[in-house]
Subunit: 512 residues, 2 copies
């Protein structure tokens, strides 16, 4: 019996080994393919980035959806656009692999953050290739012709280059590479591409409910959003922060007043707002709102260990961003991102610079962003901010106040509550997640890190908490991709990694 | 001897009385003229307001200067454009009256505040007549034809309607009225119109020095800037506040950062700025900068008495502006304006509203306005603000910091100091000033008030302190003319008062 066991073990070992070799071969084939076809891949990427994709631009979003699903369809994948009324469609596709015992859900979002073109070096939807980052003195390059050599340090600039169209380009390249080399996939694949993630994915829950029958065989979801680690090492991420936000407008007189005739008599909205914001957070970054840190769920041992194993990128980041110290200066970034944050995303009152005039503006507005960690409820966190504002003597309104309201309350703030969603975290010990980590290691040459949570946000709670399915994130973009900001870009080395990564993920051996 | 004295006294009395009657007759003639020619005066005013007059728009300013001097020249007045290199011209004109023993200098500025057209109901240089104030539901009207009835509550909207083109229209109407009725002037008149008052009159001192020989016979200067009292009563004003300002920019990372990946680790410029501004002034309006109130020159008895005689307009103003209380709530506006003020004229960081994105902006900027009272030096007051900022731990730079500077100082602020000038006040007991007050009473039907200082600013110190000549201000514009703000306007009743006023000023009896 022992020899039979040994034989069986040998057969299994050889089978697993050969499958593992198959995964390495698949990655090699993808690498060879992208080395031979780099210029075309880059040009196709630029074409994809030239389609304006702000979620509120319905026509633009639909063009993206049609274009992208056509690209997969051309690779013989069954595609359809799932629709619920009033929302951008979900791009849905399916690859059923004979004999596969596992189904992977691949989530991508094809919409991008709103753009303020005046702050971009080039128009955000006219992609430009650069020899290096623009602030580092990079020069614009022509789009490469077929035989041109590609430098992996080149960057492609354009909205959504990093967030989140790169995985699409990676999938398509892998499918082409596998078709060329006859490499089979080892899991069923479901593509599920969101069209309003940057608008907070307000209908994603509806989509999941409406089309549950199309996704309920998925064993694990894979996201590719967010950047790799700031050390440039690939990472496997087990969670995200949640996100919400709100806008505050405080009021002075019901019109702009001459700062001479009324200065030192009329309230100054900019001063009121400054005092209100200063009461919320001190200059060292500590949030002073009562209860803001109270609901944070403590980290487990696994997470603490993973954190401790992360490279210390703080000095590099500070040097790169021109910062003497981080917000509080006494904790590494990995740890800081496991706490909630309160950010002044925008301030506006009257005018500054050339347009500044000697007036007391009638309003001052702040846009606040809040990032949430496991344990924080988005509505509860906004309630805490509102309670804090009330405690400063403010009367809260939801529309601009009328004269009666103005004459009744000395301090009035209009609060517009944003949407959002909670944080999510997947168990770091899950076997299938361990498999994913092996694939990431294959693609990265054993360089990958494990991270308990990204600082950024994705609506993972819909998958982890509603569908009760594990989610992992395998980011592709460089950490300095200017995600959500002007001059968003992708470093080509990161696109190449993305291709290798999906080659490894699509050819994972069966579970042990 | 007694009878001779009596006779002389009678002759003098009769002479003075007849001269005083002559002044009343002149005002009556001006009133009759404006009643008969109101529509034309309004149309001419609209033509004047249609000439863009922002001081930095050199071509526009020169067009104004040519057009305005032509208007006076057409009334047979010697006009010339005084010029110093690089500055808008001074429009200069002179009326020499045979036998006159007194010369009045008439200062007007023909430039207007910069405009942000997106915030105006109509384009700022396309004047529109309204049946009432726009916020009170006024309707736009056609420009009146010659025989149309004019409602004095109508308002003409356009940049500089109130600040400061109305006196020009008043002068021209008075000159036409006097020409039609053969009414002689009783003083020599010098017109002296500034072209960059709203830019801080940076070259007015040069002009006064260069062309001193053309103005040194002036006995008293008359300004018409600023509004009448908020009670709508005309006023004679003996001083102004000074003005200065500065712009502050605080820095976070050298680029916008994703608020997820860096939120709670990177400094947030909006928070830093809010804390800095909150440290300068509390929410009740008290400036916390050390020394800010220390150099204020105390008021004299005359000034206290004049202040006490002013109508209480605070309840009316609060009702009109939708304010429960004034900044501190415990002192009338007249008193508050005799103290220096610190105003947040503008705030800017990232974006708010639809364009708000989940980033940590790299900078936050505040534009500060400072009004000064007698005793405050503009440079000293800015020095106090800078010292306060240093005391909050900031390193001050004058240009955007380079990487080395960023890596050396944790808190960096760029300060751009604006120009400006000190306050000025004329002795309320001066005999010639008393004469002016009589003229104001004649034009106003004995309704006028005496005010120690306007809240607003004019470069009167050049006249009171450099030329050592008294200055008084006889404002014309309604208090709610939206001076310096969008939808600037003039109430026609105030234009009519301006015409009556200049009729009285141009025909003052010789000094007692």
């Amino acid at each position: 019996m022992k020899s039979v066991s040994l034989l069986l073990a040998c057969i299994l070992y050889s089978s697993i080994t050969s499958l593992s070799i198959a995964q390495h071969n698949a990655v090699d084939a993808a690498q060879a393919y992208r080395e031979a076809n780099g210029p075309k891949i880059i040009r196709d990427f630029a074409t994809l980035l030239s389609l304006p994709n702000v979620a509120s631009d319905s026509a633009g979003i639909h063009k993206n959806a049609e274009y992208i699903s056509d690209q997969y369809r051309m690779r013989n994948i069954q595609m359809e656009l799932l629709k619920v009324p009033g929302a951008p469609p979900i791009i849905y596709g399916r690859i059923d692999v004979p004999g596969a015992t596992r189904t992977l859900g691949i989530y991508v979002h094809y919409d991008g953050q709103p753009v303020d073109p005046s702050r971009w070096t080039h128009p955000p939807f006219e992609p430009v290739l650069y020899s290096a980052p623009i602030p580092a003195g990079g020069n614009p390059l022509e789009m490469p012709a077929d035989a041109d050599r590609i430098d992996p340090e080149w960057r492609l600039y354009g909205r959504s280059a990093g967030d989140d169209k790169a995985p699409i380009v990676a999938h398509l390249a892998v499918l082409d590479a596998f078709a060329a080399s006859n490499i089979p996939l080892t899991s069923n694949i479901v593509f599920f591409f969101d069209g309003e993630e940057e608008a907070g994915s307000p209908r994603l829950g509806d989509y999941i409910e409406t089309f549950k029958h199309k996704i309920d065989d998925i064993d694990l979801w894979i996201f590719s959003d967010g950047p790799v680690h700031q050390s440039r090492k690939p990472q496997l991420v087990f969670g995200v922060r949640g996100v919400t936000g709100m806008e505050l407008t405080v009021y002075g007189a019901n019109r702009s007043l001459h700062s001479g005739h009324y200065g030192n008599w009329s309230p100054v909205p900019g001063t009121l707002l400054a005092n209100l914001l200063a009461s919320m957070k001190d200059a060292t970054g500590k949030v002073l709102i009562e209860g803001f840190y109270d609901t944070v769920e403590p980290l487990g041992d696994e997470e603490r260990e993973a954190l401790a194993a992360l490279p210390d990128v703080d000095p590099f980041l500070r040097e790169s961003f021109g910062l003497v110290q981080s917000e509080e200066g006494n904790a590494p970034i990995g740890e800081r991102l496991l706490m909630p944050s309160l950010t002044v995303r925008g301030l506006s009152s009257g005018n500054v610079g050339e347009l500044a005039r000697n007036v007391i503006p009638s309003t001052a507005t702040a846009s606040l962003g809040i990032r949430l960690v496991k344990g924080n409820d988005p509505e509860h966190m906004k309630d805490l901010v509102e309670q804090h504002i009330r405690d400063q003597g403010y009367h809260i309104v939801r529309e601009d106040p009328d004269l009666n309201t103005r004459l009744r309350y000395a301090r009035i703030v209009k609060i517009t509550r944003g949407g959002g969603y909670p944080a999510a975290r997947t168990d770091m010990n899950l076997p299938l997640a361990q498999q994913i980590f092996k694939a990431v290691q294959v693609a990265s040459g054993d360089q990958a890190l494990r991270v308990p949570s990204l600082g950024g946000s994705l609506p993972l709670y819909l998958f982890t908490d509603i569908l009760q399915k594990p989610v992992v994130i395998v980011p592709i973009a460089n950490h300095d991709n200017n995600q959500h900001a002007p001059d968003e870009n992708l470093r080509l080395a990161n696109l190449w990694y993305g291709i290798d990564l999906y080659a490894a993920l699509f050819t994972m051996p069966p579970e042990d």
